[in-house]
């Protein structure tokens, strides 16, 4: 559909005003919200993600596209709710206790929302108990944790242990990332996945949510 293609193209160009305007037009033309989301906004973000993975574009371009996606989502949100359109999944994210670095975590959150996930961002300096309590209460499928210091990485292990103790490990998956974090460390502490960067984190979360 031409209008949805235009939404996807404008999103790739980072033109938030145009995406908002075209989305309103699509709604006025009675195109179902789910179709606008999937074939317009998410389709556009998928192209952006692919270009980013291929190093054709870079993070600042991705963020502008994400901002345009949010402009469209703001228009669609009431309809998505009233039409009970399911999200791609629900994830709780945060920077672990003792750490205030949140740029990487923010990027992951933005890209996850762009991929259609519902994201509950707990911010930074988040206690292990808060990750587990929130994910349990919100019925989230995944907990995503970020750390930039070797001294705070241990908080990630504590979350895995708490999930284990509460019998939630397996139902609630965990993914970790951040400068000092490695795939080996993820295996060592029993995390379900490791995100090397924001783009790979989104791919891993999609896999975890599908399990």
């Amino acid at each position: 559909m031409e209008l949805l293609n235009q939404i996807a193209t404008s999103l790739q160009e980072g033109d938030d005003a145009r995406v908002g305007e075209l989305t309103r037009k699509a709604v006025a033309e009675k195109i179902p919200a789910r179709q606008i989301l999937d074939e317009g906004l998410v389709a556009g973000m998928n192209v952006v993600g692919s270009l980013f993975r291929d190093h054709e574009i870079f993070l600042p371009d991705v963020l502008l596209a994400a901002r345009a996606m949010y402009a469209g989502l703001d228009v669609l949100k009431p309809m998505l709710v009233s039409e009970n359109v399911p999200t791609a999944g629900k994830i709780v994210i945060g920077t672990v206790q003792g750490d205030l670095h949140d740029i990487g975590k923010n990027l992951v959150g933005i890209m996850l929302r762009g991929a259609g996930f519902e994201v509950i961002d707990l911010g930074n300096d988040v206690a292990p108990e808060k990750f587990v309590e929130t994910a349990t209460r919100e019925n989230a499928q995944v907990i995503g944790m970020s750390a930039l210091l070797t001294t705070t990485m241990t908080g990630m292990q504590r979350v895995v242990e708490l999930l284990d103790a509460k019998g939630q490990r397996g139902r609630i998956k965990t993914i970790i990332g951040g400068a000092p974090v490695t795939a080996e460390y993820a295996r060592e502490i029993g995390a379900d996945a490791f995100g090397f960067d924001a783009a790979s984190a989104v791919e891993r979360v999609k896999e975890l949510a599908a399990q």
Partner: protein
Amino acid sequence: MKEIVRFPVDACLPTAAEVLAGQGVPAGRPTAEPVAESLREALNLFQELAAPITVVTGIPSAEFASVYRGEGRNAPESPLAAIFPKAEQLVLFAVTIGAPVSEEISRLFATGRFDLGYLLDAVASSGTDRLAQKLQEYCAVRKQERNSPPGHEQVASCGLRVAGDENPLGDLGVLGGSTSVSGSAGRAQAGTVFLRYSPGYCGWDITGQRQLFRALRPEDIGITLRESCLMEPLKSISGVLVAARPEVHRFDNTYPFCTVCTTQTCRSRIAEIQDGKPRKHEAG
């Protein structure tokens, strides 16, 4: 002797090209106008909000050995452990661009301007790295002055001493004019090179921050240390400036911890010692 040195914001303002290079954008690649516009806005915000300030103090090698040992968690072998005993001079340092920039980054993310917030973060990281670079050059010039005959003083670019027990350059004031140093390796005198090393890198465990803070007390310029060894404001760098002959600074990246290092910036620093070219400033 402890010394607080302020630098004007312009001294640590990165170029747009530096910021984009720090994001992995290849040199010469055209930038989309909306990105270029956000980047200009980020650079303006940095100029408006950053308040660069630094602190240094010289430390004898024996005392630095204790600082370096920290809480005994360093790698069994590390470059700095081999380098610092051969140093001509060791200077503990801390630099920060202040808290308002980080606060603005958080505010921008919270209000949906994450493109601008992200670019301001990138500008701030490059700017903090540049500030440490300026301090390194300043220390190199100060060392050269001490080694020069009277009346042969040279000055660092744009450093303003605001506290210190000695002032060989006379009254307080902006030390403007030409600079005798260039690039990352501030050259103090023929054959002597200043390079900086920080806890959390190259086998120096991040818990080393605690001893470093006890010795330097950067709280005087507003930098505090959390229990987790995180510095606040976030855009701060601390460590030791090592003045030594170039060959002392050279090492191979074959230590066990090098395999998980994602930056490998030691290579460009060492290469610069060899070819004398200024390095690119990296986003921290």
